[in-house]
Symmetry: C2
């Protein structure tokens, strides 16, 4: 039993709280959060990026998704916390669990600044038929977490227009125009990447996500940025003042919303907004709900961003290809660990121009580690490589020219026929999705089949989405575009010209090995005629596939030519930027 | 200007009605309706199966979908009615049109027994911000349609269990169990095919649809069938009495619903239920909404139905193959008309066992007629065939063993390379969709791409869905299963084992020719393992593709083997049932 759990229960008893909910979010429903917010990891010991803890007086449960089943099982062992595998048959949702455990007169508590309205609505709906009390503004973790880190507060900086491709002035104009059309007086922006995009400002308050912890409130004539003073450097201050934006203290947004005059209206993302913020808005203020207009504007990359992204992928391709070549040259790979590979790659990336850092925690997973979908090596878990089988390497970088996210599965030595067969099946998915031609109006749901067909044909599958949107020097996972086989949470997003999405089929054999092949693909127009507008993808990623792992004869003629064309393209693009031996090796990867 | 329009306007003036709405439905939202219900055709002259007429004092508009644009344009010429092409850019929806035309104090009228709640809700939502009066129970057409046919009223008959595969007693039990689970006191069944399925009774009240005009009200202890006395033959009467069902006069359902006791609850399909029926339910009765439990039960064919369907398709394959062979033997096809082909096919079908009639109005479309998606030849429009190009033949039959729906595009003589190229592209879609292997949870939206990929790749497309559900000796179009590229009206239906769907990609070049290739495909289990349940399709249709139209080299090796396997399968299945010369010709169709 964890001490932290025990301490939490004492606080619960003191406050008369029967169930306490701890989520993974910050005030902004961010995917990654600052250390200050990691209450769930502090109490439960499970430190994956997604998970929700429910603590009752006598039991406790943690919910996480397929990416983290194995990790959570290990980290929760002996904790007194039961693992609930979200989405598996017979596993209750959090709100169903609460409904089965809470009876009349009991109290559910949580820190509402970290709970999204989406989750809160699901819970309220489920518990509405009984008399349950809610304490929505009680942060019990704060009381027991003695060495809780401070709120992150780092200097922000201005992203020049030659990188952003559109001035903040112009973006503010577009967003205000959209507000006018919706007849909304204010727009509340809580998503940190949306604020960063709108202001062309970046920061360093969240690991892997170059954003500034802040809120933004926009009106037609006024604009307020609720931000910690540490972020506002003189350069940043000058920029925002020039845009007519007033800087206010970070937490003041809560009071400001409470003071909005009745009869006005406010546009907000009612799923991602936190409960405390939402409840601060007076009843007389009309809430206009749905994802903000910024979300789609940000997802559609402008011409400058697209061209920059190509440059970022060139830099990234050089680093990755050098890494793969270096690895292939090692006479005994057992002398290297998974972490060594990550460090070497980071070293190569740092040699590239305008590299700012990793876009997420790197995954270098050897052998059976590859089957743990979101395994991240650390000092404890990192193992030596092997002279056979696969290394799965999923990493990404931030450049001034954009964000990358790439996975290659690298042959370390002899492979079995089965391994090569599986690699080839995953590769088929990647090639076929990357070559899709589709009519405007399609969502990722229409195209997901292409990535899975070769696996499904043999009764195989992977337990994650095929693709996620990727930000421009912003979050490596962004909405609304996605490629999935089942729509999640309502309407799918139509794929628009300029959107960048990942293309990452995989296959995971628990205890044996994992394979994933990931490129970023840019949606662009192919032709427009009387039948409609037809779109296609341009693959941005420039890193060779591993020809040692390919069973050439299992590829269709079309797949063979897609593969050859890609390998040739990578070679042509990178050859002059690579050391000569690496370039020669790369030329050898064009054909098997 | 049509006289009927003028007469209708006089009645509108008399009643103080400013806008009058005429839809295509009967009391049951049926796709095909009895002659009695064809008010829209009577007033407008447009007799396609789908269309809505809005008559204002000074103007009138007719809305129809892509299948009928060309036909409607022709039939509305000179009528004084404007054609609105639903779904095209800039074309207002009916409710938007009404909102733009109706102002404060005006009155909208319609016969609520024929208007679905789905349409009504859309209209009310759009007009809710102004003071419009509604007259929902006024049938003006009835006053001006002097020679209006009577309500259809034909004898019903009992479908034996060896055809239905499940007794009505058992079906009633399953439906009642489902009601219990939903805690609903009553189920209102308005869809005619659902009633026919539930009672294992068929009828003849609607062309192409072997159903009985009736309503059904089911409780746990009681059941009422609201039906015209002409339908209830002694055999039918005995059967339903044996099931504990009471027969009541058809229109009495309206009064019966009005008398439901407060505090009870009724399950109903709130989209398809007509406005008058819906409004008859007292306020104190709780309405539990959504498609009825019968819809899904009916769509999932049981083992007996599946096996019977195979037999029906054998009979149908014999008739179609004889027809194609006969046509190919004609020395001068100009001596035949489109209608001649339909008659000949009907003659061959009638030679088959247990053939009951056509499942929809047959389409035999030569040359440019093929580009009119739902062209149906009649005495006026039927043209002679040609000795070149294509004949598009889309027909279907009802057998005691089930319902068929098949389209073949038949080569009448020399083809251009472009025609063969287009035929081959459509064929690719049919073959690839038919060979899909997919994980349980997929909807038709996941698979539609397979049918369109070869066309989209060249910037081509077809303006209709790829597949629709097909009933068992019931409606040739049934919900909920469908294969479309965009979800229509809410949530897509997961493809379940036992569902039968059409697979019908096409291509239409206005003024030139049309191609469509349609098979029915049965969803069945392929394997189940730790990755999930995997499904595949069995193609039920047994009619050869036209090898004269195929460009073999444009098919991938996989497509070539799929085509050869299908042609071989058709030959093996049919050869002993065909006249010898036809069988020999069919053998020649296996390879090109």
């Amino acid at each position: 039993m964890r001490t932290e759990l025990d301490l939490l229960r004492r606080e619960m008893a003191e406050e008369g709280i029967d169930a306490y909910l701890i989520v993974s979010d910050d005030d902004h429903a961010s995917e990654y959060v600052g250390e200050y917010y990691k209450c769930r990891a502090f109490v439960s010991g499970f430190d994956g990026s997604a998970g929700t803890l429910v603590v009752l007086r006598e039991e406790a449960g943690l919910w996480t998704d397929g990416r983290y089943f194995i990790q959570a099982e290990q980290q929760l062992a002996g904790s007194g916390i039961t693992l609930y595998r979200s989405g598996e048959n017979g596993v209750p949702a959090i709100e169903e669990f609460l409904a089965s455990k809470l009876s009349e007169g009991m109290t559910l508590g949580f820190d509402g600044t970290t709970v999204s309205m989406a989750l809160w609505r699901r819970i309220v709906r489920k518990l509405s038929d009984r008399q349950i009390s809610f304490r929505t503004t009680v942060d019990l973790c704060d009381r027991i977490w003695q060495s809780r880190p401070a709120l992150p507060a780092h200097p922000a900086w201005v992203l020049e227009e030659r990188y952003a491709g559109e001035s903040s002035r112009q973006k503010l104009k577009r967003v205000r125009e959209s507000l006018r059309q919706e007849r909304a007086d204010y727009l509340l922006v809580t998503a940190l990447d949306e604020i960063a995009w709108l202001l062309n400002i970046r920061g360093d308050d969240i690991a892997y996500s170059p954003v500034v912890l802040s809120f933004f409130l926009l009106g037609q004539e006024e604009a307020f940025w609720y931000v910690q003073p540490e972020a506002v450097t003189p350069q940043v201050k000058e920029t925002v003042i020039g845009l007519g934006i007033e800087c206010r203290p970070y937490r003041e947004i809560y009071k400001r919303l409470a003071g909005l005059p009745a009869g006005t209206s406010i546009r907000l993302d009612d799923s991602a907004t936190n409960v405390t913020l939402y409840q601060a808005i007076p009843r007389g203020v009309e809430k206009k709900k749905g994802s903000t207009p910024i979300q789609l504007m940000k997802a559609v990359k402008n011409e400058v961003e697209q061209e920059n992204m190509r440059k970022a992928h060139y830099q990234d391709g050089i680093a990755l290809t050098r890494l793969i070549y270096w690895l292939k040259q090692q006479p005994d790979k057992k002398m290297l660990t998974e972490l060594d590979v990550c460090r070497k790659l980071e070293e190569y990336r740092r040699e590239g121009e305008h590299y700012l850092g990793q876009s997420f925690a790197p995954i270098a997973a050897c052998g059976a580690h590859g089957a743990i979908v979101h395994y991240e090596p650390d000092e404890k878990s990192s193992i030596p490589l092997d002279n056979e089988g696969f290394l799965l390497l999923d990493t990404g970088g931030h450049y001034l020219e954009g964000t990358t996210d790439v996975t290659r599965t690298i042959t370390l030595g002899p492979l079995t026929q089965e391994q090569r067969h599986h690699y080839t099946a995953v590769l088929k998915g990647n090639l076929n999705l990357g070559a899709a031609v589709f009519k405007y109006g399609c969502t990722g749901v229409n195209l997901d089949y292409l990535a899975r067909a070769a696996l499904w044909d043999e009764g195989l599958d992977y337990n994650h989405g095929t693709g996620h949107g990727v930000g421009y020097l912003l979050n490596v996972h962004e909405e609304p575009n996605a490629i999935r086989f089942r729509e999640r949470g309502g309407s799918g997003s139509v794929l628009e010209e300029g959107m960048i999405t990942s293309n990452e089929p995989g296959l995971y054999l628990e205890g044996r090995y994992g394979i994933r092949l990931e490129n970023l693909i840019l949606c662009r127009k192919r032709q427009e005629n009387e039948y409609g507008t037809f779109l296609e993808f341009e693959t941005l990623t420039l890193v060779p596939f591993d020809m040692e792992a390919v069973l050439w004869d299992e590829l269709s003629p079309r797949e063979q030519s897609l593969l050859t064309a890609y390998q040739q393209r990578v070679y042509d693009a990178l050859k002059d930027g690579l050391p000569q031996e690496a370039a020669e090796w790369l030329r050898g990867q064009i054909l098997q």
